[in-house]
């Protein structure tokens, strides 16, 4: 029962979370990872930047009613740096995020997004600022990320994005959930294992 859904296009309203080097401890504080399932993580996304010590909501895009229901997260440079915790993209996904557009992403975060079927695509700095500004001007503007054409569209403005080509292929082919693809090559796995001297204890 592998999930094999092609991800070719994501569309919806956007939510800008400006700032460079936003780490996974900010996206999901470690104390909320004391769980054995990912269910329910959505409410803790960005928890400590959204709420002060007394649980009073702060000004943060994830608390802003204008961006409620958004599915495209727009960020700056090195988003998702730090820990490998898949809990970070899981929390974002369970909050409602289906695609991320940013200047750059930390590698493990990017790989985790892909493994969950969430495209993470990059635009340059000025383009990101323009996209963020467009959402701020009109939070209801529709964004779309089209993996076939390679375009991020915001209203009637289109930007061509960059993305690792293998991530793109895996999403478009619906093989982003890689287990079944990897499993289909059992002979190759056994062969490689057999060729490594340490597997047999030298």
């Amino acid at each position: 029962m592998d999930i094999q859904t092609a991800v070719t296009r994501v569309s919806g309203t956007g939510i800008p979370v400006p700032g460079n080097d936003i780490d996974t401890d900010q996206i999901i504080p470690a104390r909320y990872m004391k769980v054995v399932t990912f269910d329910g993580l959505g409410e803790y996304a960005f928890h400590d930047v959204r709420y002060d010590e007394k649980k009073t909501p702060r000004a943060h895009p994830f608390n802003d009613p204008r961006f409620a229901g958004a599915s495209v997260l727009v960020v700056n440079r090195n988003f998702g740096c730090g820990s490998s915790r898949e809990h970070a993209p899981q929390a974002l996904m369970r909050w409602g995020i289906r695609a991320v557009v940013g200047e750059s992403f930390a590698e493990i975060f990017n790989g985790n997004c892909t493994a969950m079927g969430i495209p993470a695509v990059t635009l340059d700095h000025d383009q990101i600022l323009a996209v963020m500004a467009a959402i701020e001007r009109n939070p209801k503007v529709e964004l779309s990320i089209d993996l076939s054409s390679g375009l991020v569209t915001v209203g009637d403005q289109a930007y061509s994005f960059t993305m690792d080509s293998s991530y793109r292929s895996a999403l478009v082919a619906g093989s982003w959930d890689s287990t079944s693809v990897l499993l289909s090559n059992m002979d190759g796995i056994a062969q490689t294992a057999g060729s490594l001297p340490y597997i047999g204890g030298f």
């Binding site: 504080p29 004391k34 010590e53 915790r85 898949e86 993209p89 790989g111 991530y167 693809v181 001297p197």
Partner: protein, 467 residues
């Protein structure tokens, strides 16, 4: 021109190139812990998949274990639940588990090497970003997410993109009071927290090859803080001597055969790289972070940079850092009053780290206002330290001597900062909230610098301290 170690080891483990363009990479050693693995086992069960190579996965517990009272059930119900999940999963799937009841439990990146599980020429994956630590042995080692843990459990392989390789050539000799931690903090400060994206770092040069295995692990450990998912050191005599006789290392004649394979994998003088970065170790001072990411680090004798001194693209994060830390540009770091001193973590929780700290502490007392504790990286480290009497030195100085675990590096356990406390820490991340208080503040530095700060109650330059 010849292939560097990274590309050779990659090719040896490459099963095939997938249609997506990614390589299917065989994983020689898979390590798991309690935080990132339960959902992966759940996914296996939902799909009716089995564990393909049960004897190539090893488990321990580190993130959530309390370091003061380890009696079961844990007082924290959620921690106890996670503990029971890994106990059940490892039993159900026949995975060797170094739990709290064994004498081999500890931080996953400390026990892998000390048991001899980590070896040159392997591919090593773990659901933890500091898996890069194991690269110190000349292995390709990287952190993965939970869906990828599922992939390794089910197929012993991963779909992965081959990174580029940057050689970081460290020449010269470290001055007294300057350590491996200072080398890696300097590299991250120079190349940036995102400078390593798309790269594996090969740490090379005379200054690296003079380091002990434990010091090399400290450097490789923090590769990820510079954005490099993997970092490694070519194996040499020091690597082989470290591994000889370890329980899971090859024994007897097999060990000699292993050495010839390992030695041959090391990058040769004419090896090819995508990039090279040079650093002169003799120019380094003890480093300390002033901000909210590990790249915001300066020599302890330098001043917090002003906005004008920083490149434009670093100013936004610097402003956040000034606000969170309550520091200003042009302030000295020396003299900052600390509240907490933390020694431990997968970066600096090994026996040599405890020895360096104990050397500084011997005959001194922790300042009255400082809460200080030391958390050995593993039970074996703890036992060794106790055999050498280090625990007595720590206790007499006023440090609490704790049980093995991740402790206040990430505060998923009872060890946490309170409110705005300022902590001198031998760990790896100074992110906002990292040490358990959303307003808490972390200063990263070497274990010796943490010890000196604990005594004085403020940040001091270890080179000028009375020791």
């Amino acid at each position: 021109m010849s292939q560097n170690l990274f590309n050779r080891v990659w090719d040896l483990h490459k099963v095939t190139t997938l249609e997506s363009g990614q390589d299917q990479l065989f994983i020689g050693l898979h390590l798991i812990h309690e935080v990132t693995s339960p959902q992966a086992f759940q996914m296996l069960q939902e799909r009716g998949l089995k564990l393909l190579y049960p004897n190539r996965t090893f488990a321990t517990v580190d993130h959530i274990v309390p370091t003061a009272d380890q009696s079961r059930p844990f007082k924290d119900r959620l921690a106890e639940e996670m503990m029971q999940a890994i106990e059940k999963n490892t039993a159900d799937y026949g995975i060797e588990f170094f739990g709290l009841s064994t004498d081999r439990q500890g931080i996953v990146h400390i026990i892998g090497p000390e048991l001899g599980l980590t070896q040159p020429g392997m591919t090593i994956a773990c659901g933890d970003s500091h898996t890069s630590t194991h690269g110190a042995f000349g292995a390709i080692a990287f952190g993965i997410g939970t869906s990828q843990i599922r992939d390794v459990l089910a197929t012993q392989t991963l779909a992965f993109n081959r990174p580029k390789v940057r050689k970081i050539n460290v020449t010269g000799t470290l001055k007294p009071g300057v350590f491996a931690k200072d080398i890696i903090l300097r590299i991250i400060a120079d190349l940036g927290v995102n400078g390593g994206i798309g790269y594996a770092y090969e740490y090379n040069g005379e200054a690296i090859h003079r380091l002990s295995m434990e010091e090399r692990m400290t450097i490789c450990n923090m590769s990820i803080e510079g954005g490099a998912r993997a970092g490694y050191v070519n194996p040499d005599r020091i690597t082989f001597d470290y591994l000889r006789g370890r329980p899971y290392a090859p024994q007897g004649e097999a060990f000699d055969r292993a050495i010839s394979w390992w030695a041959d994998l090391a990058s040769k003088a004419d090896a090819e790289y995508d990039d090279v970065y040079e650093l002169d170790a003799s120019t380094l001072s003890p480093m300390v972070t002033w901000g909210i990411n590990p790249g915001q680090a300066i020599g302890v004798d330098a001043r917090v940079p002003t906005l004008a001194q920083l490149p434009e693209d670093q100013r936004e994060v610097a402003e956040k850092a000034y606000a969170h830390m309550d520091f200003k540009g042009n302030e000295p770091m020396e003299g900052k009053k600390i509240d907490v001193a933390f020694l431990g973590s997968c970066t600096n929780g090994r026996i040599s780290d405890l020895r360096e700290a104990a050397k500084v502490l011997a005959g001194h007392k922790v300042a009255q206002h400082v809460r200080a504790f030391v958390v050995p990286g593993s039970k074996q480290v703890a036992r060794q330290a106790e055999a050498e009497g280090l625990d007595t030195i720590f206790r007499e100085a006023g440090f609490e001597w704790r049980g093995a675990g991740c402790s206040m590096c990430l505060a998923m356990n009872p060890d946490k900062l309170n409110n705005r406390e300022l902590c001198a820490s031998s760990s790896n991340r100074n992110f906002i909230g990292r040490q358990g208080s959303p307003t808490g503040r972390t200063l990263l530095m070497s274990p010796a610098m943490v010890a000196a700060a604990a005594i004085e109650g403020r940040i001091v330059d270890i080179r000028e301290s009375t020791n």
